[in-house]
């Protein structure tokens, strides 16, 4: 149980579990012992009862044997011999059984041995009696009785030779019958008195024979027969007396004595057995009692000891635990090398105490850290709130600035819109008057003036275009752009635009080719703006192409993304490089300044196209190869999206 190498603890306390196991084993052993003893006692008692029964039955057997022998003597039937021997054998058997039992259980065997001796005596006597009785004979054909009968026959035969002149023969015969009766009586009653009477009778008969029988030969033969009879009769008497004429005499008395003693012995045996049984039972009871008592005592003692060995240390441990629970970490936990559960508890408590000490220290450190943290958080919070306030201030300023900027932008757009309007009025006059003067000059034939007036007119119109473009862009920027969404047939718009733009195309000796698919159908958007977009693209293409071909293509593109109409304008003009292409939709970025001078135009058309396309939910794209030409494409949804409409409506 000890760990090898560990120092042997001073106090060798067994674990509580082991103690309880010991106690349980003790209880089980005690119970087993008591049960065994009880069983042994009951078995003994049962065996003793058996012994008593055997003794009683042996007594009955003895009485039986006596009855058999009496019957045998009286009736002289040989079957009684068998009966006797059977009973006798049984008796002997029982004796042997008893002996075995007595030896086994240490009972006194003196009486039993005496009984055995008596039994063999009894047998011997009975055997001899049987022999005597055989000598006597069963009836008149057997033994002494047979010889007596032969004698009687011989006597009777001789008597027939006796003359009956004076009734002598009858008298002799009578005396013979008397002798026979006496014999029978003797056999029947077995009384010695009959022997004396027989002697008297015989003497009288012998005297009569000598007196009455005259013939000498007959007399001699008769006397011989008579003496033979007497001899046998005397033998009979001897045998009968040997057997015992009654219970007080002879073998019968001897047997009776043996039987009586045997019965006495049996009675003594019974008494002895009873005493022995009582003693044994008492002893066993005492043993059981003592065992149970001692075990109970030992159990109680062990229980009390166990209780003390558990409860006292547990009380101590509880005390320690209570102190620990109250937070008293100074409590002393005994460092006893107990090896039981209490020892485990103490060890656990030591660990707990150490943990608690560490925990307390950690808690204090934590609290300290927490306080520090709180202070820092407070400082930081203060700093942060200042920062937030500053940011809020900055935000407010920013918002104000943005609002100012927005309103400034709106003001700018509004200003531009108004300005454009104001500019248009004098321009109207300039264009109008120059046209009027051209007419006048033409009427009056002032050819030289016509050219100059034409320049004024063209410059005015250019300025007007610029103003109109600026007006549109600034309106879009100011969110005041207005559009009218209506349903129209796309092909009609294309036709109108083609008609309008035709003069510009022919100016530079270009050819316009128009191709569209049959499924163009109608659109629901701002027709004027679509017209404007197409016009801008076409006029732009016409401007930068000379003697080339300008192609307007249109088709419908309906897929999951939506129902879209695509218009593209391709020219075979001067084209653009990548850099120019990248800026083509920005305002006032014609390829270069010289371009403007050469080709004219406001430089706002493409920008306006991009803005208009966006407003109508679409987009513009440009592809170009320098020197070969460009393609401008606008994609517009067949139905202007609702957000656009909303924005447009907001603008009005």
């Amino acid at each position: 149980m000890l760990t090898p190498g560990a120092p042997v603890p001073k106090c060798r306390t067994l674990p509580i579990r082991t103690k309880l196991t010991f106690l349980s084993v003790m209880v089980v052993v005690a119970l087993g012992l008591i049960l065994y003893l009880s069983w042994y006692r009951d078995t003994s008692i049962r065996q003793m009862d058996d012994t008593r029964n055997t003794i009683q039955s042996m007594d009955v057997m003895l009485m039986d044997m006596q009855r058999i022998q009496n019957d045998f003597v009286n009736l002289f039937d040989p079957r009684y011999l068998d009966e006797f021997s059977i009973t006798f054998d049984r008796f002997v058997e029982s004796t042997e059984d008893l002996k075995d039992g007595f030896w086994d259980r240490g009972l006194p065997v003196d009486s039993l041995e005496r009984l055995v001796v008596l039994t063999s005596e009894h047998q011997y006597l009975f055997d001899e009696m049987a022999e005597q009785l055989t000598t006597i004979g069963q009836d008149e054909s057997d033994g002494l009785r047979g010889k007596l009968a032969q004698a009687v026959t011989a006597i009777e035969a001789e008597l027939s030779h006796v003359s009956n002149a004076t009734n002598q023969r009858h008298a002799l015969h009578r005396q013979l019958v008397i002798m026979q009766i006496l014999t029978k009586d003797l056999l029947l009653h077995k009384q010695a008195a009959y022997a004396q009477r027989f002697e008297g009778n015989f003497a009288a008969l012998l005297g009569d024979v000598d007196q009455m029988v005259t013939e000498a030969q007959v007399r001699i033969r008769l006397r011989t027969a008579l003496f033979a009879y007497r001899e046998n009769f005397l033998k009979l008497i001897t045998a009968a007396e040997r057997v015992g004429l009654n219970y007080e005499h002879g073998m019968r008395a001897e047997i009776g004595g043996t039987v009586a003693e045997a019965r006495e012995t049996l009675a003594r045996l019974t008494a002895e057995v009873n005493v022995a049984i009582g003693l044994q039972e008492q002893n066993l009871n005492v043993l059981i009692g003592v065992t149970a008592g001692s075990f109970s005592l030992a159990f109680l003692l062990a229980l009390v000891m166990l209780g003390r060995s558990i409860s006292t240390p547990i009380r101590n441990v509880t005390g320690i635990m209570t102190q620990l629970a109250d937070g008293d970490l100074s409590v002393d936990i005994p460092d006893q090398p107990r090896r039981d559960e209490i020892g485990d508890m103490l060890r656990a408590l030591r660990v707990f105490k150490m943990g608690a000490i560490i925990r307390r220290r950690t808690q204090e450190e934590l609290r300290k850290a927490h306080d520090e943290l709180e202070t820092r958080v407070e400082q930081r919070t203060r700093a942060l709130s200042e920062e937030i306030q500053e940011r809020r201030r900055a935000e407010t300023e920013l918002k104000r600035a943005r609002e100012q900027a927005e309103s400034a932008n709106q003001a700018k757009s509004l200003f531009l819109a108004n300005m454009s309007h104001e500019l248009r009025t004098p321009l109207n006059a300039i264009i109008g008057y120059s046209e009027m003067l051209q007419e006048d000059a033409a009427d009056l034939g002032f050819e030289g003036m016509t050219l100059d007036l034409d320049k004024i007119n063209t410059a005015g119109k250019h300025l007007l275009g610029l103003i109109t473009g600026i007006l549109d862009i600034s309106k879009i920027e100011a969110g005041r752009f207005e559009a009218t969404v209506e349903r129209f047939i796309v092909r009609d718009v294309i036709d109108t635009v083609v008609d309008t733009v035709q003069p510009l195309i022919t100016n530079n000796a270009n050819t316009l080719e128009v191709s569209y698919t049959d499924d163009l159908g109608d659109m629901e958007t701002d027709a004027t703006r679509l017209r404007q977009i197409l016009f801008n693209f076409l006029s732009n293409a016409a401007k930068f192409t000379e003697g080339g071909t300008i192609t307007l293509r249109a088709f419908r593109e309906a897929d999951i993304a939506g129902d879209t109409l695509v218009f593209s304008v391709t020219d075979t003009g001067i084209g653009m490089d990548q850099k120019q292409l990248g800026m083509v939709f920005e305002p006032f970025t014609q390829a270069d300044v010289s371009t403007t001078r050469k080709y004219g135009g406001t430089g706002l058309g493409l920008t306006l196209n991009r803005e208009l396309a966006r407003l109508l939910g679409g987009e513009v794209m440009a592809y170009s190869t320098l020197g070969k030409g460009s393609t401008f494409t606008v994609r517009l949804p067949a139905r202007a999206p609702i957000e656009t409409l909303d924005m447009l409506n907001q603008g009005t």
Partner: protein
């Protein structure tokens, strides 16, 4: 030749347009604001009115509405002259009763075509 009433507040435009129309052979009566335009229209009963929109005292919208609501003048065709190129203006003009719409700067030949169309139309219907 037909008589036209030109209602226009801007002197240059009024002068330029008036003279060009007179050269075309029209009799041109001039009004400088909406109110004057209404008064003149009632007295002169012109064949057609050219009405500027942005005017002091009474603007073109109001003047046109009044003319179109008056039994004496409601049959005179009115053409709006405006710097506003907005389609909403065009729609508004249609609602009020303007018969046509011309954007400034005026494409003169187109305006003359428009005038001729409405005068002959009025003669046929009237």
């Amino acid at each position: 030749m037909a008589t036209l009433l030109l209602v226009e507040d801007n002197e240059l435009n009024r002068d330029m347009l008036g003279r060009r129309l007179q050269r075309m052979g029209y009799t041109v009566k001039i009004a400088v604001n909406g109110q004057e335009g209404i008064d003149l229209a009632r007295t002169v009963q012109p064949d057609l009115v050219l009405m500027d929109i942005n005017m002091p005292i009474l603007d073109g919208w109001e003047a046109a509405r009044i003319l179109k609501s008056d039994v004496d003048t409601q049959n005179i065709p009115i053409i709006a002259l405006t710097a506003h190129a907005m389609t909403s203006d065009r729609d508004k003009a249609g609602e009020i009763g303007f018969n046509d719409f011309a954007t400034k700067p005026v494409d003169f030949p187109a305006l003359v075509g428009m005038i001729e169309k409405w005068i002959s139309h009025a003669h046929i219907t009237g």
